[in-house]
């Protein structure tokens, strides 16, 4: 691109634009009058249209076997002991370990031709999460940060990038790179309640709290009469946002769901995380990631898959059903992600090792062709023989499925960043 298209931003406050539209500034919205537009980057118009969409990623850490899930090769000696079964889409067969999921195939799509080149867990996770070829986890924003930024809404009281955890509550993570910590994931516990520090400290009454808030507002208001900047407003606003979040802390509490719904999801930590994810989808949180770890079966691959796949199958299928019944699936993209596949050969310990050369992923919900199967592997599942794609195509595809123009750029504090790898594009035929 030529020089003339590069416009250095003269305002250091550009990155704050998003906060300035937040409603209740103490002295009204005049704070914004510095010529800053919320949609100053090319993706703006698409964002507007995409309001309310959500992405839910189910990350199967360690690397699920494509043979025991989305791309079974039952005719092979090395195909493992499990059969393949038909699904709700004629012609598509998946592993018999996924009977419940098979009934939802008409809402799903499979990509069976992913070929990447890193077989280290950490490095492979980096590239699949951020859609770029990098060796560093923090160089590019992860999908969640890109989605949180791309689907951001001005008056949204909740964090836009949430990672659920079975229990315990983490802090803000380092996964938004240049997009800034506002888009980093916040960890939320599904079992032991929500986000850290959302309850008043022991011994503080609501009355005392509102007294101290009034005093804080008084101090801020007086000072704002003298000098006022977007950054200062963002600071005072973060307290108000925190207070709103505290009021909504029950959103993170799945025990508020009717007991029959809790039962329908199941009691496993994974099922509870999915239930939390559904509550958050209802709130239109842009990105929620649920993780299910431990898929690295170098030994006893088949025995472990028998249990592990069963652990995700029913809750996952129920999650799709629940989203469908509530009318949420039409605005939610669900991705079952992992970092690489497993070897076609079986090792001496009845395990399968890391195999990035030919593997699969499943998707469901909005923005994609339902019942589609993209690409093909050869007889042995060793090579991709049709429509080879990698992490970069997938990243474009995920974003475009929820209406974010992945060929655009993010503008952050005066600099421009291509949203996805500019040398690649989406899997066009997969997009709805």
């Amino acid at each position: 691109m030529s020089n003339s298209t590069y416009r250095p931003c003269l305002s250091p406050h550009h990155s704050l634009a998003r906060r300035q539209f937040v409603g209740d500034l103490c002295a009204g919205g005049a704070a914004v009058a510095s010529g800053i537009s919320l949609f100053s980057h090319p993706a703006g118009a698409a964002q507007l249209a995409a309001h309310g969409r959500s992405v839910v990623v189910i990350f199967l850490g360690g690397g699920i076997s494509q043979f025991e899930s989305w791309d079974p090769k039952t005719h092979l000696e090395t195909g493992g002991p499990f059969k393949s079964i038909p699904t709700s889409v004629p012609g598509i067969h998946i592993s018999e370990l996924l009977p419940h999921t098979a009934t939802r195939m008409h809402q799903m799509a499979l990509v069976r031709s992913i070929s990447t080149d890193l077989d280290d867990h950490g490095l492979a996770t980096n590239i699949i999460r951020c859609g770029r070829t990098t060796r560093t986890a923090t160089e590019y924003p992860e999908l969640g940060a890109a989605v949180a930024r791309g689907l951001e809404r001005t008056d949204f009281p909740l964090p836009g990038h949430i990672r659920t955890m079975p229990e315990g509550i983490g802090r803000r993570n380092n996964n938004s790179a240049y997009l800034g910590p506002q888009y980093a994931s916040v960890s939320v516990g599904a079992e032991k309640g929500g986000i850290v520090n959302t309850q008043l400290p022991d011994g503080m009454t609501v009355e005392t709290d509102s007294r101290r808030q009034d005093w804080r507002r008084f101090v801020n208001k007086r000072h704002r009469q003298k000098v006022q900047t977007a950054e200062m407003d963002a600071w005072t606003q973060s307290y108000e946002q925190a207070l709103r979040l505290m009021e909504r802390r029950e959103l993170f509490d799945i025990s508020r769901e009717p007991s029959e719904i809790q039962t329908a999801y199941g009691s496993s930590p994974f099922a509870k995380q999915l239930l939390l994810a559904r509550r958050l989808v209802e709130q239109e949180v842009p990105y929620i990631e649920v993780s299910h770890d431990g898929w690295d079966f170098h030994h006893n691959n088949f025995e472990f898959h028998l249990h592990y796949v069963a652990d995700i199958d029913r809750p996952f299928a129920h999650f799709l059903t629940d989203l469908t019944e509530r009318g949420l699936l039409q605005r939610t993209l669900v991705i079952v992600m992992t970092e690489f596949g497993r070897t076609p050969g079986i090792n001496a310990g009845y395990g399968r090792d890391h195999y990035p050369k030919a593997w699969s992923m499943a998707m469901a919900g909005c923005g994609i062709q339902h019942g589609a199967v993209i690409g093909k592997t050869d007889e042995k599942g060793a090579e991709v023989i049709d429509r080879k794609v990698d992490h970069r195509h997938l990243f474009h595809t995920f974003l475009q499925a929820v209406g974010i123009d992945s060929t655009g750029q993010f503008e952050i504090a005066g600099r421009h960043f291509p949203i996805a790898d500019p040398a690649f594009g989406p899997i066009q035929e997969l997009l709805a």
Binding site: M1, N3, P8, V186, P201, W215, H223, E231, P422, A423
Partner: protein, 853 residues
């Protein structure tokens, strides 16, 4: 053996020659009709400085730099008079900027008292305070933190405490900043005292791409990231060659886990490895070979060529040994990157330090120095970079000059543009200045065109010279391959020779044995002549002996043939080695022309930079004046409309006027005529909270008493202020409440590791922690010596209000604020302790505390 001769060739000679060449030519760069202030010398040697400009060399009058800074800034500002910050605003600002913490209540009171009593003028008090703070041990401690964060961006493998400690000592010894950066690029992690110097690279896991990017960003202020795969799509300045230029210096460096040294990571380096690159957008294009070149044409063009690998290493790398090459590219990088002739380094360092004191750099973002993101004042950036060099990169001296400026000391409360009368000579003056500036731009343009042509010519010349060297290098590479083959041939011949020799020796032994056996058999046969078996055996031995004797001459023939072959192979190896050596010498000679061409390129580049700087400032002046002109015209129009009683108020006009005002204000902030409020860094915020609550007070008092006690009999030590401060500050650094605050605040308020650390962000987890976390709220509870305890003990509510505001915000409350505090206390007489904590909490949560004004 050949390498020894190469080693004796002084590596730096060509470089030195080049420097001389640049210095001699450096004086041709001035443009005749420049305003003198705009042409601060590019090269900082006094000789060059004098010849370039009329102003005396900066080095001669370091005290005048702050005046020069103000002069430059005032020259580009035509707005209303901006007052200096109030004494209390200045006090808080300068404490935070030079020590990282706020003043204590007593320090605030003393500072204000001496001015109010007329004992000293405000200006003198400010100067004295700046000098006082710069001399404190806390200054070194705080800037160790600032520089550590700047350099590592909170990436951690080697503990940040280790690196901070190293930098703190460096600053205590008042050593130059460029040498610090040199050490941090050169360090390999060996040597306990020096281990921290490897942090820059080891904390990035010695990943060559990451290190390349961050050297670009942090050392040169140029984010060449996207140029990794193709020329930067958005920034025309950043070429793929620049990325690979830096990468060529670092890609041979690797992490080495040393079992002998407690399995810690160290840096090893290889002696070979050439890089080629091609654009991902043009994969069909031929690949280009990468050269070790830094931005601004600082390059390593005289690398010695080795005959073979053994000559290339001091320690050959293997599983147990860290590679140490004879000639380390990383060591060369460390020197070139931080040398005072490296303008990219100087400008970046000056800009980053300026940015630390002002919240924004002259170039902002600070890692995007390039043509389309020009400095707000190129002349000022030049002045700052030059004064950094002239002051031999002394941090205190540099910051002192900035802190003394009116620009630094000005108010950040924006002026009321609506009530401003406009510039002294009105619209006309603005317009004639515009005409004049445009004329100057037209006058300079042909010269810039010429310089661009020169730049092109210099690049072509360099390319030609480079081509010769590349061709020789290619031949050397091929010759090395041949040498490897010849060496293998020789080894094989020598082995055959050895085998043959062994065989002949065996043959001779066989003959000797058989001869002896025959003699013995004859002896026996004399005694038992009828022993037919023995007779047969003897015949057999005899046959064998004959056969053995017959074979010997042939073997000896083979031996001499093999000997000759081996000698020939040996000669061929030696010939080949000397051929490579000869080529290496030719390469050296040709290298001289590359060095010369590079020098010319650097000189032209430097001239071009000066030209670009001039035009940048002129263009910005046009932009500012156009904005001012439009604003004044709009205001005139609006005034005329208002005079006409029949016309309705023009809301569109009013809107435009408002928009222009906002733009003017931003523009004035950008050229530092008005200061921008800026957020405290995470460390400043934590430390301001700590000192604001006077949590440090008991620790300080105890440490001071301990010091007196320990050294009561040794007045020399007892009265050594530096040692005493070191002792007290060390005690503060490990204080429990401080560590709680550090953990709580620094982690939440700092940007993620590996991203720029100078931006502001407010996230909900920060607010939640300050709202509700018990660790934080516990620190507000009264404790021995703390502010809360003192406030609770106060009888006078007015005095309480005053102490509260002075301690936390470093200013007295106004009447309404006092009134508010008093009424809160009065309404809840039973809960004084609780109210005091709420008062403290409110002030600490306020934007006035979170930001600096």
């Amino acid at each position: 053996m050949h390498a020894c001769k190469l080693k004796s060739h002084p590596l730096l000679q060509p470089l030195l020659r080049l420097l001389c060449c640049v210095l001699q030519l450096g004086c041709l760069t001035a443009v005749a009709d420049d305003p003198p202030a705009a042409v601060a010398p590019d090269s900082m040697t006094p000789a060059a400085a004098v010849s370039v400009t009329d102003i005396p060399p900066v080095a001669a009058e370091p005290a005048s730099i702050s005046a020069q800074i103000d002069q430059l800034l005032d020259g580009s500002f035509h707005g209303p008079e901006i007052p200096l910050a109030t004494d209390t605003q200045f006090l808080r600002r300068v404490y935070l900027d030079l020590t990282g913490h706020g003043p204590t209540l007593e320090e605030t009171q003393a500072f204000l008292q001496q001015i109010h009593s007329g004992q000293i003028t405000s200006t003198a008090a400010r100067t004295a305070l700046i000098d006082d703070l710069l001399e404190r041990e806390q200054f070194s401690r705080y800037y160790a933190e600032v520089l550590e964060v700047m350099l590592t961006e909170r990436r951690e493998v080697i503990s940040y405490r280790e690196l901070r400690n190293f930098i703190r000592q460096w600053l205590e010894q008042r050593r130059p900043l460029n040498e610090l950066c040199l050490e941090l690029l050169a360090g390999d992690g060996t040597g306990e005292q020096q281990r921290a110097t490897a942090s820059f690279i080891i904390n990035r896991n010695a990943d060559p791409h990451l290190v390349t990017r961050d050297i670009g960003r942090i050392i040169f202020g140029r984010d060449v990231q996207c140029a990794q795969c193709h020329d930067h799509p958005l920034v025309a300045d950043y070429e793929q060659a620049e990325y690979f230029g830096i990468l060529s210096f670092v890609h041979r460096t690797y992490l080495f886990q040393d079992e002998k040294r407690g399995n810690l990571p160290y840096l090893g380096e290889k002696a070979d490895g050439l890089l080629e690159f091609a654009s991902v957008f043009k994969p069909q294009d031929p690949k280009s070979a990468a050269q070790p070149v830094l931005p601004m044409a600082m390059a390593m063009d005289t690398e010695p060529q080795f005959v073979d690998e053994r000559d290339a290493y001091v320690v050959v790398p293997d599983k147990e040994h860290r590679g140490v090459p004879q000639y380390s590219r990383r060591q060369q990088l460390a020197v070139l990157a931080t040398h005072r002739e490296n303008h990219a380094f100087n400008r970046n360092l000056a800009n980053r330090l300026w940015s630390h004191l002002f919240g924004t750099g002259l170039v902002h973002p600070v890692d995007l120095h390039h043509r389309d993101n020009p400095p707000s004042s190129a002349a000022l950036l030049r002045l700052l970079a030059d004064s950094l060099v002239a002051g031999n990169y002394d941090l205190r001296q540099f910051l002192r000059q900035i802190a003394l400026t009116r620009a630094y000391q000005r108010s950040s409360i924006p002026p009321d543009i609506a009530s401003w009368d406009g510039p002294p000579d009105g619209l006309g003056a603005v317009q004639s200045r515009l005409t004049e500036t445009r004329r100057q731009i037209t006058a300079i343009t042909p010269r810039l065109t010429q310089l661009n042509t020169n730049m092109q010519a210099a690049a072509e010349r360099l390319q030609l010279a480079r081509r010769d060297v590349d061709a020789i290098q290619q031949r050397i590479l091929e010759a090395r391959t041949t040498l490897q083959k010849l060496t293998a041939d020789h080894t094989q011949a020598a082995e055959s020779l050895k085998a043959l020799q062994t065989r002949i020796t065996q043959q001779n032994e066989l003959i000797t044995s058989l001869t002896a056996t025959l003699t013995e058999a004859d002896k026996i046969l004399k005694i038992t002549p009828a022993d037919q078996d023995l007779v047969n055996s003897r015949t057999l031995f005899e046959t064998r002996l004959k056969a053995a004797q017959t074979a010997l001459p042939e073997l000896n023939n083979q031996l001499s043939e093999q000997q000759e072959m081996t000698e020939n192979a040996q000669t061929r190896v030696e010939d080949q080695r000397s051929r490579i050596h000869a080529l290496a010498n030719r390469s050296l000679a040709l290298g001289e022309f590359v060095v010369e061409a590079r020098g010319i390129q650097r000189k032209v580049r430097s001239e071009l930079q000066q030209g670009t700087d001039q035009i940048t400032d002129l263009e910005q002046s046009v932009r500012r004046d156009t904005l001012l002109q439009n604003f004044l015209q709009l205001r005139l129009q609006s005034a005329q409309t208002a005079l006409n009683p029949d016309s309705a108020p023009d809301t569109e006009l009013a809107g435009q006027l408002q928009q222009h005002q906002t733009q003017l204000l931003q523009e004035w902030q950008r050229c530092f005529a008005i200061r921008q409020p800026r957020s405290l860094t995470p460390e400043q915020l934590a430390r301001a909270t700590y000192t604001g609550l006077a949590l440090d007070r008991p620790v300080r008092e105890k440490a001071a008493a301990d010091w007196l006690q320990t050294h009561q009999d040794n007045p020399a030590v007892r009265d050594d202020q530096r040692q005493r401060q070191l002792f007290i500050n060390t005690a503060l650094a490990v204080d429990g409440p401080w560590e709680v605050l550090e953990d709580l605040i620094v982690e939440r308020f700092s940007a993620p590791a590996g991203t720029p650390q100078d931006g502001f962000f407010a996230t909900v987890d920060q607010a939640l922690a300050l709202l509700n976390s018990a660790e934080y709220l516990n620190l507000l509870k009264p404790a021995t010596g703390s502010l809360a305890e003192r406030l609770i003990a106060m009888d006078s509510q007015t005095q309480l209000a005053e102490t509260l505001y002075l301690s936390v915000l470093c200013r007295p409350p106004d009447a309404e604020e006092t009134q508010m505090v008093v009424s809160l206390l009065t309404q809840h007489p039973q809960n004084k302790a609780e109210i005091v904590q709420e008062l403290l909490w409110g002030l600490l949560s306020s934007s006035e505390f979170r930001f600096m004004f």
